[in-house]
Each structure stands twice: as structure tokens, then as C-alpha cells.
Amino acid sequence: MTGAQIAARAATQTTVIPRRSGSERAREGAFRVLMYGAVGLAFVALAGILADALADGLPVLSWDFLTRFPSRILPDRAGIESAIVGTIYLMVICAVLVVPLGVATAVYLEEYADRDRWWNRLVEINIQNLAAVPSVVYGILGLAFIVRGPLSLGNVLLAGGITLALLVLPVVIIVAREAIRAVPPSIREGALALGATQWQTIWKQVLPGSIAGIATGAILALSRAIGETAPLLVIGAAASPRFNPDGLDSQFTALPIQIFVWTQDPNRAFVERAAGAIIVLMAILLLMNSVAIWLRNRYEQKW
């Protein structure tokens, strides 16, 4: 065969490959429509949820709304100061407890734990399972162990903070482990070769290298904690208190609880207050998420 013949045959052979049949193209098109529909519905749901809260809640937003205490009788004078303060306190308590504990656990599992030991495997399996436990069950734990029972703190701020900390502990551990794992082994080997002890290597090299990832994950975990309603309901957060918590042993409420109480009120004016509180809660979450994304982009280590 000459080159010319090969070229000629190649030219004709392109027509041998069968054209897509019409029905196949139709199915392809129909499937695309389904996929666009699915993604579109997710968009619509998110937009609908936000738009509904904005439409109901924007009219009640004002400085007074943010700086007044809830009222059971007068919706016009009801505000969310005690809920905002409670949520901020809960976030701080939760962070103070969960960040050291979660990071220490992650360091242990990534840097020290010997996978062949049964107790280390137990800790790992346990964390995977804890992450799947429904939040309301953490509420039961809080009620039985922290509010009453062994710790008997009562339904106070500290009990709420501990309960939320335990709830997000598995999340913090998992993200911290990923951040620590992202530090390449060569960094550790370099430090050890220079004579650093294992803890010096971790403290001076591994943790600084993974701090951005840990911080990002911790903020996201905290934003999950302050959005939780069920555990706080179960341990008995106060409904519409007319005071700010003044210490760890004070009764408290939080934004999700206040939203819950107002949503269930038969008076429409209170339901609008709930929407107002939703906007404030979402704004706080948005702020936290923006900080997390900014941290990740600004400080993320490239190895």
C-alpha cells in the first residue's frame, strides 16, 4: 500500500464509525435536563429559604431589636440581646474546650499512635462513630451527665458549652488530623535530623505548618455548634429570658432557641421576630465562614 492509498482509506474510514442515533442524542438531552433540574432545585431551595427569612424578618430588624430583651406579651418591644450574648458566650466556651482537646487528640493519632495497638484503633473507630451520633443524643448526654447526674451543673451556660463542645469534638479532630497529615514527612525528618525531639518537631514545625487548616476547620465546627438547636432544647436552655448570662453558672438562651420559641408562637408578630433572629444568625455564620475562607487562602502552606 502506498502512502497515498493509506491516506485515502483513512479519509473514508471516518465515515465508518456509526453516527450517534437520534434516540441516543434525545436520551442524552433528557438526562442533561434532569441534571440541570436537580442542581436548579437545590439553588431554588437555598434561595427560597433565604428569601423567606429576609422577606419576613427584614422589617423587624433595627438597633432596638438587637439590644432589647425578649418579651412574651409585646412583640413590638421584643429583642434578641440575651440570645446574641448567649450565643457568643457558648461559642467562646465551646472553642476554649474543643480546640485544645481536638488538636491534642489529632496530634496524638497522627504523630504518636501506633496503629497496631488495639487501643489506638479503638480511639479511631470511636471517633468515626461519634461523628455519626445524632445531635439530640448529645443533648441527652448533657441532660443526664452534665445538667443532672455526675456533674449536676444545672441548665446553665457552662453545661450548654460543654455539650456543644462534645458535639463538635469529632469534627474538630477529623479536620485537625487532615491538616496535620498535609504537612509532608520531610519537614519532620529534617527537624529530627537536626536533633529536635519529637515534641519539639511537632510544636515548632508540624503545628505551625498546619495552623491554617486547623483554624479553618475549627471555625467551621464552631459555626455548626452555634447553629444547633436540639441539644440545647434537651438540656433546657431558657425560653425568652429577660437577662444576659452573667457567668458560667447563669441560665442562658441562644439564637436558635429564641428562633424556635418564636416560630412556635401563634402570634404572627412573634413569628416575624423569629425571621429577624434568623437573619442575625445567618449573618454571624456568614461572617465566620468568610473568616475561615480568608484564613485558608491567606495562610495556607504550600509545600
Binding site: 450517534r20 434532569l34 427560597g48 491534642a104 499512635a113 480511639v123 455519626a132 443524643v137 441527652i140
Partner: protein, 322 residues
Amino acid sequence: MGAGPRIAASSGASGGARVSLTRAPSARSRFEALVRAALFAAAAVSVVVTLAIIGSLVVETVAFFGDVKWSDYLFGTKWTPLFAGEQQSFGVLPLVWGTAYLSLIALAVAVPLGLLSAIYLAEYAPARVRRVVKPVLETLAGVPTIVFGYFALTFFTPEVLRGFFGTEVNQFNALSAGIIMGFLVLPTIASVAEDAMSAVPQSLREGAFGMGAGKLTVALRIVFPAALSGIVAALILGASRAIGETVIVLIAGGQTASLGLDPREGHQTMAAFIAATSRGDIPTGSIEFETIFVVGFTLLVLTLILNFFSIRLVRRYRQVYE
């Protein structure tokens, strides 16, 4: 690392030129051991938490079964623990049914939408579309459930459901709570399933394309089956989220435990019962107090069984390709 033999002279204890290969516990190595012990203690806290959860549930559950026959609990068809006297009944089946029913409604929404979104993201979407769609799904996953509940009660039930089905729709109904819960679960299913499909090696797709397969065939006949165990794990994870979800049901699903089939009527789930009941200041040790724990224990066992299967499936699908 720190455990190897160390030259004692270098720790500066004696100042002489004595060189020994036996390990002398220096202050530094003692500190290292202390740090290690402290970190292990932190890791042990999570195990203590599990033990505390199980312990607190089991103690009250045992007390509960001292008062109520276990067969009455497991097979009884009437759940009215808060009623007085003769009316009081502890059959858990209505709560189990309510939980299953609402989860099924949620999954009927979340599974098709979640899987279609996952296929779109893994196989079809151009990078710049992914950059928009993924954050939207993540945002949806980050919205607190109380906000979903508010939407279900104040918009979805009165405006959408009553618009379609008329005023026979109860203010608190299974349909609204279930569908909205579906949108809560959707991002979970979409993201886990997408990860599973993205992990399918490119060579499989290229092989199929080389045989003349179209894009749809590759997505549904090659990638989907190859990622199946990961996709099933995604579904199980979604189901366990739906089963444990509390606030949406509490707000929009009603508070009557029923064995009914009508989705326009209210149903109560196990999680919603726990939250609703523990809100009232019930005294420790009363039978009402114990019901919270026995229902919580039932719920925990259910989710742990689901989680067990999900972890096993994920592990298996991880091993498929080299």
C-alpha cells in the same frame, strides 16, 4: 526517635568524658513522655464521651424496662407516655414508623436530586460551573436546621403544599417536614457520591469512550457502577442524617405519634419526641424521664448500625483501584 540509646555525656549531667550507651532519663526525655501521656489522655476523652453516652442511656433504659415489659415497648402500637393512668401506653412502633416514614420522604427527594447533582459535578460540569455549584451546595449544608424548619412551617406548608393539595393539609404534616429534610440531606449525598465518582480512574472512562460509548453511557454504565459502594455509603450517610434530624420535624412535622399513612397529617419521630419531651421540666427518675433515654437508645442503636455499614462500604470501595 526519642526512644533510641542516648549518649549520657551529652546531657551534661556529669561533665566528665564518660560515654555510655545506656539510656539515662534526662529531664527532656521525661518531658517528652509527659507530653505523650497528656496527648493520649486527650485522645481518651473521646472514648470517655462514648462511654458516658452509652452509660447514661443504658442506666435509664434498664430502669424503664423495670416498669414496662420490653415486648410492650417494641411491639406496642400506641405511644402515649405523657398521658395519665389507663391512657398511658409505651408502644414505640408509632415513633419508629414516623421516623422511617419521614426519612423515606426525605430520601425520595434527596436521593434522585443528590445523585443527579453528583453525576453532573463529577462527569459533566465545566470547572467554572463547579466553582459556583459546589459552594452553593456547601452553603445549603451549612444552613442551621432551625432555619429549614422555619421555612417548612411558614412558607412550604401554607404556600406550596396548600397551594397544590388544598386546605386538607394539616399545619403540621409529614410531607412538608420530609421534603424540606430532603433538601437538608441533599448536599451530604451529593458531596460523598461525587467524591466516589471522581475517584474512578480516568482510564476506565477513556476505555469506554474509545469503544464508542457516549457520555451518558459512560456516566451511567461505567462510572456509576464502579463507584457504587461509595454511592451506597453516601445514601446510608444521608439516611442516618435524616433519622437523627430533630428540629425540622419538631417544628413542621407535628407532635402526635401515629401509625397513619396520610402524609398530610402530622407524624412524630424519635428524635423529635426526645426534644419535645425533655423541654418540659420532667423530674429525674419519673417514667416520662426514662422514656427519653429508652427512645434515645433506640435511635443511637439504629444510627450506629447504619454507620457501621457505611464505614465498611467506604473502606471496600477505597481498595478497588491501585
